[in-house]
Protein backbone atom coordinates (compact mmCIF):
# COMPACT_ATOMS: atom_id res chain seq x y z
CA UNK A 1 0.00 0.00 0.00
CA UNK A 2 1.21 3.51 -0.81
CA UNK A 3 0.09 6.37 1.44
CA UNK A 4 0.86 9.86 2.65
CA UNK A 5 1.84 9.87 6.28
CA UNK A 6 1.96 12.82 8.66
CA UNK A 7 4.80 13.02 11.15
CA UNK A 8 3.55 13.11 14.75
CA UNK A 9 6.96 13.33 16.38
CA UNK A 10 10.62 12.97 15.40
CA UNK A 11 13.20 12.99 18.16
CA UNK A 12 16.81 11.97 18.73
CA UNK A 13 16.74 9.17 21.31
CA UNK A 14 20.51 8.65 21.50
CA UNK A 15 23.34 10.44 19.66
CA UNK A 16 22.76 9.71 15.96
CA UNK A 17 19.60 7.61 16.50
CA UNK A 18 16.13 8.96 15.88
CA UNK A 19 12.64 7.77 16.54
CA UNK A 20 9.78 8.93 14.34
CA UNK A 21 6.07 8.47 14.96
CA UNK A 22 3.74 8.92 11.99
CA UNK A 23 0.14 8.40 10.93
CA UNK A 24 -1.00 5.40 8.87
CA UNK A 25 -4.19 4.21 7.18
CA UNK A 26 -6.51 1.71 8.93
CA UNK A 27 -5.09 -1.27 7.01
CA UNK A 28 -1.64 -0.60 8.47
CA UNK A 29 -2.78 -1.83 11.89
CA UNK A 30 -2.36 -5.41 10.60
CA UNK A 31 1.39 -4.95 9.96
CA UNK A 32 3.28 -7.91 11.39
CA UNK A 33 6.57 -7.80 13.31
CA UNK A 34 9.57 -7.82 10.98
CA UNK A 35 7.83 -6.07 8.10
CA UNK A 36 9.25 -2.81 6.81
CA UNK A 37 8.35 0.41 5.02
CA UNK A 38 9.98 2.30 2.14
CA UNK A 39 10.02 6.04 2.82
CA UNK A 40 10.61 8.82 0.34
CA UNK A 41 12.34 11.56 2.34
CA UNK A 42 11.31 14.33 -0.07
CA UNK A 43 9.86 14.85 -3.52
CA UNK A 44 13.13 15.89 -5.17
CA UNK A 45 15.50 13.69 -7.21
CA UNK A 46 18.37 13.75 -4.73
CA UNK A 47 18.12 11.51 -2.80
CA UNK A 48 16.38 9.65 -5.59
CA UNK A 49 15.47 6.36 -3.97
CA UNK A 50 13.26 5.50 -1.03
CA UNK A 51 14.87 4.30 2.18
CA UNK A 52 13.85 1.05 3.90
CA UNK A 53 13.07 1.09 7.64
CA UNK A 54 11.90 -1.61 10.01
CA UNK A 55 8.58 -1.02 11.76
CA UNK A 56 9.43 -0.35 15.41
CA UNK A 57 5.89 -0.18 16.74
CA UNK A 58 2.29 0.09 15.59
CA UNK A 59 -0.37 1.84 17.67
CA UNK A 60 -3.28 4.24 17.79
CA UNK A 61 -2.80 7.99 17.81
CA UNK A 62 -5.43 10.00 19.65
CA UNK A 63 -5.23 13.64 18.58
CA UNK A 64 -5.03 16.12 21.45
CA UNK A 65 -7.84 18.33 20.20
CA UNK A 66 -11.40 17.21 20.86
CA UNK A 67 -13.54 15.78 18.10
CA UNK A 68 -10.71 14.27 16.05
CA UNK A 69 -10.96 10.52 15.54
CA UNK A 70 -8.21 8.21 16.80
CA UNK A 71 -5.99 7.02 13.95
CA UNK A 72 -3.50 4.17 13.44
CA UNK A 73 0.12 5.22 13.62
CA UNK A 74 3.52 3.57 13.50
CA UNK A 75 7.05 4.26 14.61
CA UNK A 76 10.47 3.89 13.05
CA UNK A 77 13.82 3.83 14.82
CA UNK A 78 16.59 4.96 12.49
CA UNK A 79 20.22 5.91 12.49
CA UNK A 80 21.48 8.93 10.60
CA UNK A 81 24.05 7.46 8.21
CA UNK A 82 23.90 9.69 5.14
CA UNK A 83 22.05 12.29 3.17
CA UNK A 84 18.61 10.62 3.18
CA UNK A 85 18.47 9.84 6.88
CA UNK A 86 20.01 13.25 7.61
CA UNK A 87 17.13 14.93 5.79
CA UNK A 88 14.64 12.69 7.57
CA UNK A 89 16.01 13.76 10.94
CA UNK A 90 15.43 17.42 10.02
CA UNK A 91 11.68 16.92 9.49
CA UNK A 92 9.10 18.08 12.01
CA UNK A 93 5.61 17.36 13.30
CA UNK A 94 2.91 17.80 10.60
CA UNK A 95 5.44 17.31 7.76
CA UNK A 96 4.22 14.76 5.22
CA UNK A 97 6.02 11.69 3.90
CA UNK A 98 5.25 9.29 1.04
CA UNK A 99 5.35 5.73 2.44
CA UNK A 100 5.09 2.25 0.87
CA UNK A 101 4.25 -0.58 3.21
CA UNK A 102 3.99 -2.70 5.21
CA UNK A 103 6.31 -4.76 2.98
CA UNK A 104 8.02 -8.15 3.13
CA UNK A 105 7.64 -11.30 5.18
CA UNK A 106 7.94 -10.85 8.94
CA UNK A 107 8.84 -13.12 11.87
CA UNK A 108 7.17 -16.43 12.61
CA UNK A 109 6.03 -16.16 16.23
CA UNK A 110 6.84 -19.81 17.03
CA UNK A 111 5.26 -22.00 19.70
CA UNK A 112 3.98 -20.46 22.97
CA UNK A 113 5.77 -22.81 25.40
CA UNK A 114 9.31 -22.10 24.23
CA UNK A 115 11.63 -19.38 25.48
CA UNK A 116 12.18 -16.54 23.03
CA UNK A 117 15.68 -15.10 22.80
CA UNK A 118 15.94 -11.83 20.91
CA UNK A 119 19.34 -10.53 19.84
CA UNK A 120 19.72 -6.98 18.57
CA UNK A 121 22.73 -4.91 17.59
CA UNK A 122 22.47 -1.10 17.36
CA UNK A 123 19.68 0.04 15.07
CA UNK A 124 18.93 -3.66 14.49
CA UNK A 125 16.63 -3.32 17.50
CA UNK A 126 14.20 -1.45 15.24
CA UNK A 127 12.01 -4.39 14.11
CA UNK A 128 12.48 -6.32 17.38
CA UNK A 129 10.30 -4.18 19.64
CA UNK A 130 7.06 -4.97 17.81
CA UNK A 131 8.18 -8.61 17.81
CA UNK A 132 8.78 -8.58 21.59
CA UNK A 133 5.40 -6.95 22.11
CA UNK A 134 3.74 -9.92 20.38
CA UNK A 135 5.95 -12.60 21.91
CA UNK A 136 5.43 -11.54 25.55
CA UNK A 137 1.74 -12.38 25.18
CA UNK A 138 2.56 -16.11 25.20
CA UNK A 139 6.20 -16.69 26.07
CA UNK A 140 9.08 -15.74 28.31
CA UNK A 141 11.22 -13.29 26.33
CA UNK A 142 14.85 -12.30 26.86
CA UNK A 143 16.59 -9.52 24.97
CA UNK A 144 20.33 -9.40 24.29
CA UNK A 145 21.16 -5.89 23.10
CA UNK A 146 24.61 -5.00 21.91
CA UNK A 147 26.47 -2.02 20.54
CA UNK A 148 29.85 -0.37 20.28
CA UNK A 149 29.11 2.05 23.14
CA UNK A 150 26.17 2.84 25.41
CA UNK A 151 24.89 5.25 22.74
CA UNK A 152 24.24 2.28 20.44
CA UNK A 153 22.02 0.39 22.89
CA UNK A 154 18.56 1.77 22.33
CA UNK A 155 15.16 1.79 23.98
CA UNK A 156 15.97 -0.87 26.59
CA UNK A 157 13.48 0.60 29.06
CA UNK A 158 10.73 0.10 26.47
CA UNK A 159 11.53 -3.59 26.30
CA UNK A 160 11.70 -3.82 30.10
CA UNK A 161 8.25 -2.27 30.36
CA UNK A 162 6.93 -5.16 28.24
CA UNK A 163 8.28 -7.58 30.82
CA UNK A 164 11.28 -8.62 28.74
CA UNK A 165 14.41 -9.57 30.68
CA UNK A 166 17.18 -7.48 29.14
CA UNK A 167 20.92 -8.12 28.93
CA UNK A 168 23.22 -5.58 27.37
CA UNK A 169 26.80 -5.67 26.23
CA UNK A 170 29.01 -2.98 24.73
CA UNK A 171 32.41 -3.29 23.12
CA UNK A 172 33.83 -0.50 25.31
CA UNK A 173 32.06 -1.59 28.49
CA UNK A 174 30.19 1.72 28.84
CA UNK A 175 26.91 -0.15 29.37
CA UNK A 176 26.28 -3.70 30.62
CA UNK A 177 29.11 -6.14 30.28
CA UNK A 178 32.13 -5.49 28.11
CA UNK A 179 32.29 -7.63 25.01
CA UNK A 180 30.02 -9.05 22.37
CA UNK A 181 26.34 -9.61 22.98
CA UNK A 182 26.67 -13.15 21.61
CA UNK A 183 28.71 -14.11 24.71
CA UNK A 184 25.70 -13.33 26.93
CA UNK A 185 23.49 -15.28 24.53
CA UNK A 186 25.75 -18.34 24.76
CA UNK A 187 25.70 -18.23 28.58
CA UNK A 188 21.93 -18.15 28.58
CA UNK A 189 21.78 -21.04 26.10
CA UNK A 190 24.04 -23.08 28.40
CA UNK A 191 21.41 -22.75 31.15
CA UNK A 192 18.49 -23.45 28.85
CA UNK A 193 16.30 -26.37 29.89
CA UNK A 194 13.37 -26.44 27.45
CA UNK A 195 13.00 -25.43 23.84
CA UNK A 196 13.79 -21.99 22.50
CA UNK A 197 13.75 -19.85 19.38
CA UNK A 198 16.27 -17.14 18.57
CA UNK A 199 15.39 -13.93 16.70
CA UNK A 200 18.13 -11.58 15.55
CA UNK A 201 18.63 -8.32 13.72
CA UNK A 202 21.78 -6.23 13.50
CA UNK A 203 25.14 -5.97 11.76
CA UNK A 204 25.95 -8.85 9.42
CA UNK A 205 28.87 -10.05 11.57
CA UNK A 206 26.58 -10.36 14.58
CA UNK A 207 23.94 -12.22 12.55
CA UNK A 208 26.61 -14.55 11.25
CA UNK A 209 27.77 -15.33 14.80
CA UNK A 210 24.20 -15.86 16.02
CA UNK A 211 23.40 -18.11 13.05
CA UNK A 212 26.45 -20.26 13.77
CA UNK A 213 25.59 -20.52 17.48
CA UNK A 214 22.02 -21.54 16.61
CA UNK A 215 23.22 -24.11 14.07
CA UNK A 216 25.68 -25.72 16.52
CA UNK A 217 22.97 -26.11 19.14
CA UNK A 218 20.22 -26.95 16.64
CA UNK A 219 18.03 -24.12 17.89
CA UNK A 220 15.59 -22.54 15.41
CA UNK A 221 16.75 -19.05 14.50
CA UNK A 222 15.22 -16.28 12.42
CA UNK A 223 17.26 -13.33 11.23
CA UNK A 224 16.12 -10.05 9.72
CA UNK A 225 18.45 -8.79 6.98
CA UNK A 226 19.19 -5.33 5.69
CA UNK A 227 19.46 -4.99 1.94
CA UNK A 228 20.37 -2.12 -0.35
CA UNK A 229 17.22 -1.90 -2.43
CA UNK A 230 15.62 0.51 -4.89
CA UNK A 231 12.00 -0.65 -4.96
CA UNK A 232 10.99 -2.87 -2.01
CA UNK A 233 8.57 -4.85 -4.15
CA UNK A 234 10.82 -7.45 -5.79
CA UNK A 235 11.45 -5.68 -9.09
CA UNK A 236 14.94 -4.18 -8.90
CA UNK A 237 16.62 -7.36 -7.59
CA UNK A 238 19.23 -5.19 -5.90
CA UNK A 239 18.77 -6.55 -2.37
CA UNK A 240 19.39 -10.27 -2.86
CA UNK A 241 21.25 -12.37 -0.25
CA UNK A 242 23.00 -15.68 -0.94
CA UNK A 243 20.96 -18.75 0.06
CA UNK A 244 22.50 -21.76 1.86
CA UNK A 245 23.26 -23.60 -1.38
CA UNK A 246 24.93 -20.62 -3.01
CA UNK A 247 28.27 -20.98 -4.75
CA UNK A 248 29.74 -19.26 -7.79
CA UNK A 249 28.94 -22.40 -9.82
CA UNK A 250 25.42 -22.89 -8.42
CA UNK A 251 24.16 -19.42 -7.61
CA UNK A 252 21.22 -19.22 -5.20
CA UNK A 253 20.01 -15.71 -4.38
CA UNK A 254 17.03 -14.78 -2.19
CA UNK A 255 15.23 -11.47 -2.57
CA UNK A 256 15.43 -9.67 0.79
CA UNK A 257 12.42 -7.39 0.20
CA UNK A 258 9.87 -10.01 -0.84
CA UNK A 259 11.19 -13.41 0.35
CA UNK A 260 12.51 -11.69 3.52
CA UNK A 261 13.60 -9.51 5.22
CA UNK A 262 13.16 -12.29 7.81
CA UNK A 263 14.68 -15.68 6.96
CA UNK A 264 15.26 -18.91 8.86
CA UNK A 265 19.02 -18.63 9.42
CA UNK A 266 19.51 -22.10 7.90
CA UNK A 267 18.14 -20.88 4.57
CA UNK A 268 21.05 -18.47 4.13
CA UNK A 269 24.74 -18.79 3.43
CA UNK A 270 27.06 -17.89 6.35
CA UNK A 271 30.80 -17.92 7.01
CA UNK A 272 31.87 -20.73 9.38
Amino acid sequence: MQFTSMILSNAEVSPGYWRMRMTAPQEFASASPGQFVMVRVNGAIDPLLRRPFGIFDVGIHTPAHSGAAPQPCFEMLYRVVGKGTGMLSALHETDLLDVLGPLGAGFDLGAPDEEKLIVGGGVGLAPLYLLAKELVKNSAVRLFAGGRTRDDVLCITEFERLGVECYSATEDGSLGEQGLVTEALVRRLDLLKGRATIYACGPHGMLNAVANIAAERKIPCQVSLEGYMACGVGACLGCVAPGSGHSPETPDFRCVCTEGPVFESGELKWRD
Binding site: L49, C236, G238
Partner: protein, 304 residues
Amino acid sequence: MKPDMTVNCAGIRMRNPVMTASGTFGYGEEFAGYCDLESIGAFVTKGLSLKPRAGNPTPRIVETPGGMLNAIGLQNVGIDAFIAKKVPYIRSVKTPAIANFFGNTIDEYAEMARRLDEIHEVAGLEVNISCPNVKQGGIVFGTDPACAASVVSACRAVTKKPLIVKLSPNVTDVVAMAKACEDAGADCLSLINTLTGMAIDLNRRRPVLANVTGGFSGPAIKPIALRMVWQVAKAVKLPVIGIGGIMNATDALEFILAGATAVQVGTASFINPGAAQQIAEEMEAWLVANGVDDIKSLIGALEV
Protein backbone atom coordinates in the same frame (compact mmCIF):
# COMPACT_ATOMS: atom_id res chain seq x y z
CA MET B 1 -13.31 16.42 -25.25
CA LYS B 2 -11.07 13.48 -24.41
CA PRO B 3 -7.92 13.56 -26.53
CA ASP B 4 -6.92 10.54 -28.60
CA MET B 5 -4.01 8.99 -26.67
CA THR B 6 -3.70 5.82 -28.77
CA VAL B 7 -0.54 5.01 -30.68
CA ASN B 8 0.45 2.14 -32.91
CA CYS B 9 4.05 1.21 -32.39
CA ALA B 10 5.19 -1.20 -35.12
CA GLY B 11 1.84 -3.00 -34.99
CA ILE B 12 1.53 -2.93 -31.20
CA ARG B 13 -1.66 -1.00 -30.56
CA MET B 14 -1.50 0.88 -27.30
CA ARG B 15 -4.17 2.84 -25.43
CA ASN B 16 -1.53 5.47 -24.68
CA PRO B 17 2.21 5.84 -25.34
CA VAL B 18 3.36 4.94 -21.82
CA MET B 19 5.18 1.64 -21.38
CA THR B 20 7.31 0.30 -18.54
CA ALA B 21 11.00 -0.39 -19.14
CA SER B 22 12.56 -3.84 -18.91
CA GLY B 23 14.20 -4.65 -15.58
CA THR B 24 12.20 -2.06 -13.67
CA PHE B 25 8.79 -3.71 -13.64
CA GLY B 26 9.48 -7.39 -12.92
CA TYR B 27 7.06 -9.55 -14.89
CA GLY B 28 4.14 -7.18 -14.25
CA GLU B 29 2.53 -8.91 -11.28
CA GLU B 30 4.96 -7.35 -8.77
CA PHE B 31 3.17 -4.04 -9.34
CA ALA B 32 -0.42 -5.24 -8.99
CA GLY B 33 -2.08 -3.00 -6.44
CA TYR B 34 0.25 -0.08 -7.18
CA CYS B 35 -0.09 0.45 -10.92
CA ASP B 36 -3.20 -0.40 -12.93
CA LEU B 37 -1.65 -2.15 -15.92
CA GLU B 38 -4.82 -1.54 -17.90
CA SER B 39 -4.22 2.20 -17.67
CA ILE B 40 -0.89 2.10 -19.51
CA GLY B 41 0.05 1.37 -23.12
CA ALA B 42 2.21 -1.73 -22.72
CA PHE B 43 4.64 -3.31 -20.30
CA VAL B 44 8.01 -4.94 -20.87
CA THR B 45 9.28 -7.96 -18.92
CA LYS B 46 12.61 -8.39 -17.18
CA GLY B 47 15.21 -9.54 -19.76
CA LEU B 48 14.77 -13.27 -20.41
CA SER B 49 17.31 -15.89 -21.41
CA LEU B 50 17.17 -19.58 -22.39
CA LYS B 51 18.46 -20.71 -18.99
CA PRO B 52 17.67 -19.01 -15.66
CA ARG B 53 20.37 -16.60 -14.55
CA ALA B 54 21.20 -15.86 -10.92
CA GLY B 55 22.89 -12.52 -11.56
CA ASN B 56 25.86 -10.80 -9.95
CA PRO B 57 27.07 -10.71 -6.33
CA THR B 58 26.01 -7.75 -4.14
CA PRO B 59 26.21 -4.78 -3.80
CA ARG B 60 24.27 -4.60 -7.04
CA ILE B 61 22.88 -1.09 -6.84
CA VAL B 62 24.01 2.28 -5.59
CA GLU B 63 22.35 5.67 -5.64
CA THR B 64 24.12 8.71 -7.07
CA PRO B 65 22.82 12.29 -7.28
CA GLY B 66 19.76 12.19 -9.56
CA GLY B 67 20.36 8.61 -10.58
CA MET B 68 21.35 5.08 -9.71
CA LEU B 69 23.81 2.47 -10.91
CA ASN B 70 22.82 -1.17 -11.21
CA ALA B 71 24.75 -4.33 -11.93
CA ILE B 72 22.06 -6.95 -11.43
CA GLY B 73 23.63 -9.22 -14.02
CA LEU B 74 20.44 -10.05 -15.93
CA GLN B 75 19.00 -12.22 -13.15
CA ASN B 76 15.86 -13.84 -14.59
CA VAL B 77 13.74 -16.97 -14.30
CA GLY B 78 14.56 -18.29 -17.78
CA ILE B 79 12.19 -18.92 -20.67
CA ASP B 80 10.69 -22.18 -19.32
CA ALA B 81 9.73 -20.72 -15.93
CA PHE B 82 8.52 -17.59 -17.70
CA ILE B 83 6.06 -19.67 -19.72
CA ALA B 84 4.98 -21.78 -16.75
CA LYS B 85 4.80 -19.14 -14.02
CA LYS B 86 4.61 -15.66 -15.52
CA VAL B 87 2.56 -16.01 -18.70
CA PRO B 88 -0.67 -16.91 -16.81
CA TYR B 89 -0.62 -13.49 -15.15
CA ILE B 90 0.18 -11.76 -18.44
CA ARG B 91 -2.81 -13.56 -20.00
CA SER B 92 -5.11 -12.02 -17.37
CA VAL B 93 -4.09 -8.44 -18.26
CA LYS B 94 -5.63 -6.69 -21.25
CA THR B 95 -2.48 -4.72 -22.07
CA PRO B 96 0.19 -5.73 -24.58
CA ALA B 97 3.14 -7.48 -22.93
CA ILE B 98 6.52 -7.14 -24.59
CA ALA B 99 9.12 -9.81 -23.80
CA ASN B 100 12.64 -8.44 -23.46
CA PHE B 101 15.32 -11.06 -24.11
CA PHE B 102 19.02 -11.65 -24.68
CA GLY B 103 21.45 -14.43 -25.51
CA ASN B 104 25.16 -15.15 -25.30
CA THR B 105 25.46 -16.05 -28.98
CA ILE B 106 23.56 -15.23 -32.14
CA ASP B 107 22.11 -18.76 -32.08
CA GLU B 108 20.82 -18.19 -28.56
CA TYR B 109 19.20 -14.91 -29.58
CA ALA B 110 17.48 -16.66 -32.48
CA GLU B 111 16.37 -19.56 -30.27
CA MET B 112 14.89 -17.12 -27.76
CA ALA B 113 13.07 -15.22 -30.51
CA ARG B 114 11.68 -18.51 -31.84
CA ARG B 115 10.48 -19.61 -28.38
CA LEU B 116 8.89 -16.23 -27.63
CA ASP B 117 7.24 -16.15 -31.06
CA GLU B 118 5.24 -19.24 -30.03
CA ILE B 119 3.75 -17.51 -26.97
CA HIS B 120 0.38 -16.09 -27.93
CA GLU B 121 0.33 -13.72 -24.92
CA VAL B 122 3.55 -11.99 -26.02
CA ALA B 123 2.57 -9.00 -28.17
CA GLY B 124 6.08 -8.08 -29.20
CA LEU B 125 9.75 -8.82 -28.70
CA GLU B 126 12.39 -6.42 -27.43
CA VAL B 127 15.94 -7.54 -28.16
CA ASN B 128 18.51 -6.47 -25.59
CA ILE B 129 21.76 -6.12 -27.53
CA SER B 130 23.59 -4.34 -24.76
CA CYS B 131 24.83 -7.33 -22.78
CA PRO B 132 28.42 -8.63 -22.95
CA ASN B 133 29.03 -11.49 -25.36
CA VAL B 134 31.22 -13.91 -23.47
CA LYS B 135 31.65 -16.32 -26.38
CA GLN B 136 33.05 -13.69 -28.72
CA GLY B 137 35.75 -12.45 -26.37
CA GLY B 138 33.89 -9.62 -24.73
CA ILE B 139 32.52 -7.87 -27.79
CA VAL B 140 29.23 -6.26 -27.01
CA PHE B 141 26.60 -6.83 -29.69
CA GLY B 142 25.20 -3.41 -28.97
CA THR B 143 28.33 -1.46 -29.81
CA ASP B 144 29.19 -2.93 -33.20
CA PRO B 145 26.76 -2.22 -36.08
CA ALA B 146 27.63 -5.43 -38.01
CA CYS B 147 27.23 -7.58 -34.88
CA ALA B 148 23.94 -5.91 -34.01
CA ALA B 149 22.70 -6.46 -37.56
CA SER B 150 23.45 -10.18 -37.41
CA VAL B 151 21.51 -10.53 -34.15
CA VAL B 152 18.55 -8.66 -35.59
CA SER B 153 18.52 -10.65 -38.88
CA ALA B 154 18.71 -13.94 -36.98
CA CYS B 155 15.74 -12.96 -34.83
CA ARG B 156 13.83 -11.49 -37.76
CA ALA B 157 14.08 -14.80 -39.59
CA VAL B 158 12.17 -16.66 -36.87
CA THR B 159 9.46 -14.23 -35.76
CA LYS B 160 6.67 -12.25 -37.37
CA LYS B 161 5.86 -10.51 -34.10
CA PRO B 162 6.87 -6.85 -33.80
CA LEU B 163 10.63 -6.80 -33.20
CA ILE B 164 11.94 -3.92 -31.11
CA VAL B 165 15.70 -3.46 -30.76
CA LYS B 166 16.87 -1.77 -27.56
CA LEU B 167 19.92 0.34 -28.30
CA SER B 168 22.86 1.03 -26.04
CA PRO B 169 24.01 4.63 -25.55
CA ASN B 170 27.58 3.44 -24.97
CA VAL B 171 28.58 4.00 -28.58
CA THR B 172 30.26 6.72 -30.59
CA ASP B 173 27.54 6.88 -33.23
CA VAL B 174 24.08 5.76 -32.16
CA VAL B 175 22.66 6.63 -35.59
CA ALA B 176 24.95 4.05 -37.26
CA MET B 177 23.67 1.42 -34.82
CA ALA B 178 20.06 2.44 -35.47
CA LYS B 179 20.45 2.26 -39.25
CA ALA B 180 22.16 -1.13 -39.06
CA CYS B 181 19.21 -2.49 -37.05
CA GLU B 182 16.68 -0.91 -39.41
CA ASP B 183 18.39 -2.46 -42.44
CA ALA B 184 18.53 -5.85 -40.71
CA GLY B 185 14.75 -5.97 -40.32
CA ALA B 186 13.87 -4.36 -36.98
CA ASP B 187 10.33 -2.99 -36.68
CA CYS B 188 11.03 -0.47 -33.96
CA LEU B 189 13.95 0.92 -31.93
CA SER B 190 13.91 1.64 -28.21
CA LEU B 191 16.56 3.82 -26.62
CA ILE B 192 18.44 4.40 -24.46
CA ASN B 193 19.57 1.50 -22.31
CA THR B 194 21.70 2.47 -19.28
CA LEU B 195 25.01 4.30 -19.57
CA THR B 196 28.04 2.50 -18.19
CA GLY B 197 29.09 4.17 -14.96
CA MET B 198 30.98 3.65 -11.74
CA ALA B 199 30.91 4.69 -8.09
CA ILE B 200 33.86 4.60 -5.69
CA ASP B 201 33.92 4.32 -1.91
CA LEU B 202 36.78 6.62 -0.99
CA ASN B 203 37.27 5.34 2.56
CA ARG B 204 37.45 1.71 1.55
CA ARG B 205 39.31 2.59 -1.66
CA ARG B 206 37.09 0.15 -3.50
CA PRO B 207 34.36 0.31 -6.12
CA VAL B 208 30.89 0.37 -4.53
CA LEU B 209 29.43 -2.25 -6.88
CA ALA B 210 30.70 -5.83 -6.67
CA ASN B 211 30.76 -5.80 -10.47
CA VAL B 212 32.92 -2.59 -10.38
CA THR B 213 30.87 -0.89 -13.14
CA GLY B 214 27.12 -0.68 -13.58
CA GLY B 215 24.35 0.79 -15.70
CA PHE B 216 23.48 4.39 -14.90
CA SER B 217 19.80 5.36 -15.02
CA GLY B 218 17.41 7.93 -13.60
CA PRO B 219 16.62 11.60 -14.21
CA ALA B 220 20.31 12.49 -14.54
CA ILE B 221 20.53 10.73 -17.94
CA LYS B 222 17.50 12.40 -19.53
CA PRO B 223 19.39 15.05 -21.57
CA ILE B 224 21.58 12.37 -23.17
CA ALA B 225 18.57 10.17 -23.90
CA LEU B 226 16.63 13.06 -25.45
CA ARG B 227 19.55 13.93 -27.70
CA MET B 228 19.95 10.33 -28.90
CA VAL B 229 16.21 9.82 -29.48
CA TRP B 230 16.11 13.05 -31.49
CA GLN B 231 19.12 12.02 -33.61
CA VAL B 232 17.79 8.52 -34.28
CA ALA B 233 14.19 9.53 -34.94
CA LYS B 234 15.39 11.93 -37.66
CA ALA B 235 17.60 9.31 -39.27
CA VAL B 236 15.32 6.24 -39.48
CA LYS B 237 11.82 5.50 -40.78
CA LEU B 238 11.02 3.12 -37.91
CA PRO B 239 9.00 4.18 -34.87
CA VAL B 240 11.18 4.99 -31.88
CA ILE B 241 10.47 4.38 -28.18
CA GLY B 242 12.09 6.98 -25.91
CA ILE B 243 13.65 5.82 -22.64
CA GLY B 244 15.87 7.58 -20.12
CA GLY B 245 15.10 9.30 -16.85
CA ILE B 246 11.38 9.86 -17.44
CA MET B 247 9.92 10.87 -14.07
CA ASN B 248 6.76 12.74 -15.10
CA ALA B 249 4.45 13.69 -17.98
CA THR B 250 6.62 16.66 -18.97
CA ASP B 251 9.62 14.38 -19.47
CA ALA B 252 7.51 11.91 -21.46
CA LEU B 253 6.07 14.61 -23.73
CA GLU B 254 9.56 15.99 -24.39
CA PHE B 255 10.59 12.57 -25.75
CA ILE B 256 7.50 12.52 -27.98
CA LEU B 257 8.35 15.97 -29.35
CA ALA B 258 11.88 14.69 -29.99
CA GLY B 259 10.40 11.99 -32.22
CA ALA B 260 9.37 9.10 -29.97
CA THR B 261 6.09 7.33 -30.75
CA ALA B 262 6.01 5.85 -27.25
CA VAL B 263 8.04 6.08 -24.06
CA GLN B 264 9.23 3.68 -21.39
CA VAL B 265 9.22 4.58 -17.72
CA GLY B 266 12.07 2.86 -15.88
CA THR B 267 13.77 3.93 -12.66
CA ALA B 268 10.72 6.06 -11.75
CA SER B 269 8.75 2.85 -11.07
CA PHE B 270 11.24 1.92 -8.33
CA ILE B 271 10.60 5.18 -6.52
CA ASN B 272 6.91 5.34 -7.23
CA PRO B 273 5.39 2.01 -8.27
CA GLY B 274 2.39 3.83 -9.74
CA ALA B 275 4.60 6.15 -11.83
CA ALA B 276 3.66 4.81 -15.29
CA GLN B 277 -0.06 5.10 -14.61
CA GLN B 278 0.31 8.61 -13.18
CA ILE B 279 2.43 9.75 -16.12
CA ALA B 280 -0.20 8.47 -18.59
CA GLU B 281 -2.94 10.32 -16.70
CA GLU B 282 -0.90 13.54 -16.46
CA MET B 283 -0.04 13.41 -20.16
CA GLU B 284 -3.71 13.25 -21.04
CA ALA B 285 -4.41 16.16 -18.71
CA TRP B 286 -1.65 18.17 -20.43
CA LEU B 287 -3.20 17.51 -23.83
CA VAL B 288 -6.58 18.66 -22.55
CA ALA B 289 -5.10 21.79 -20.97
CA ASN B 290 -3.22 22.63 -24.16
CA GLY B 291 -6.02 21.89 -26.61
CA VAL B 292 -4.20 19.00 -28.31
CA ASP B 293 -6.76 16.47 -29.51
CA ASP B 294 -4.39 13.71 -30.65
CA ILE B 295 -1.11 12.66 -29.04
CA LYS B 296 0.15 11.55 -32.47
CA SER B 297 0.23 15.19 -33.58
CA LEU B 298 3.08 15.76 -31.10
CA ILE B 299 5.35 12.98 -32.37
CA GLY B 300 8.47 14.65 -33.73
CA ALA B 301 6.76 18.06 -33.56
CA LEU B 302 9.85 19.69 -32.09
CA GLU B 303 10.60 23.01 -33.76
CA VAL B 304 14.34 23.41 -34.16
